[in-house]
Amino acid sequence: MVSTPIQVIEAELLEEGAFCFDLSRFCTLLHCAEGEAVQLVHYGVIHPEGSGPQHWRFRSLDLYRARLSRRLARDLEIDLAGAALAVDLLERLRH
């Protein structure tokens, strides 16, 4: 009898502190258009390093903050400014 092979999932380790993603990679990971990422920056949800979208570098923490803000905005029916505030406050509570 042939046993079913076990599928081992390769996981990508996301470093918390390092500014490692450019805008294109960030948008790919977030499954979003560049316009949405730009909005997230403008509302202060995420804080890339660098001046202007061409030079922005994001951390994996930004990726988490973006996902969190999306969930909060959608589920609590709040706008992006409200979500940005909530994300900041939640982060402060956890540290």
């Binding site: 599928q7 999932i9 996981a11 996902r67 959608r74 589920d75 939640l90």
Partner: protein, 332 residues
Amino acid sequence: MALSAITHDKGEPLEYKDYYKILGVERGADADAIKAAYRKMARKYHPDVSKEANAEERFKDLQEAYEVLKDPEKRAAYDQLGSNWRAGQDFRPPPGWGGQAGGFGGAGFGGADFGGGGFSDFFESLFRQQRGGAGGFHGGGAGFRSQGEDSEASIQISLEDAAQGAQRDINLEMPTLGPDGRMRREARRLTVKIPKGIREGQRLRMAGQGSPGMGGGPNGDLYLQVHFQPHPKFRVEGADLYHDLHITPWEAVLGASVEVPTLEGSVRMKIPAGSSSGQKLRLSQKGLPATGSKPAGDLYAIIQIVVPKNISDEEKALWTQLGEISSYHPRR
């Protein structure tokens, strides 16, 4: 027709859900009251915000109740079931039920981010009649293609697994798209490679392991946040490990060579003569190993001088003698 439509696939009756009770509103509540109640309860039970033990489950119920009661067509269809049902009661639909529900554009709404996704069988059975209709969130209709949602979960691993890397099985309840197009929450077992040197709180991304896409769209990703199980010998701060090193008073005074545990086995460490409780001794690079741009951590042995509780007469005599001849007076 109706019975088979509103029972489990196995033909068992469903558990009735009182959506008004879930949202805490009267049956006659208007749309504004329903919206206000949802927002208030959602703030309380949102899994990203709430500390309630059953927050995720409560929030899914809230989303489901709101999905029905905010939509006049769905609400009207639900109301047709009558008001005599009680929450949790075995549900059998009234004669002639079936197909009244308005278009519902897809399952897999909302809580998919939390490893769930999909509403209850009760909801699905009531509103799946016209799947693919207008107004859906994700859409299930022909030609609609959407990316599955990213999912978040956490995993607890041992410090040893973090230090050496490991392959671990995890069990998750995840949304899965059935052959009938229904989104179900099903237990999934994944074998995940934990990379060596991972730190507390770091996230692993598993591409394509999140919620299924709709209409042939790609799956979302799964993010696993790593937490360390408490360790009997070490506390962790970043990449550094801390170990309370218990030594005797004479080892503290005279100095000694003692065994100190590390994640790679014990090593011998020299305790300098005249050591005091609370002093930190560092074993370089014996913390968590280096990974990516992060250097390896250190292991700190924190000296804790411990004294024997029960001593023999001979020991007592020697301690007494020591007290008499010593000129050391720490309180002067």
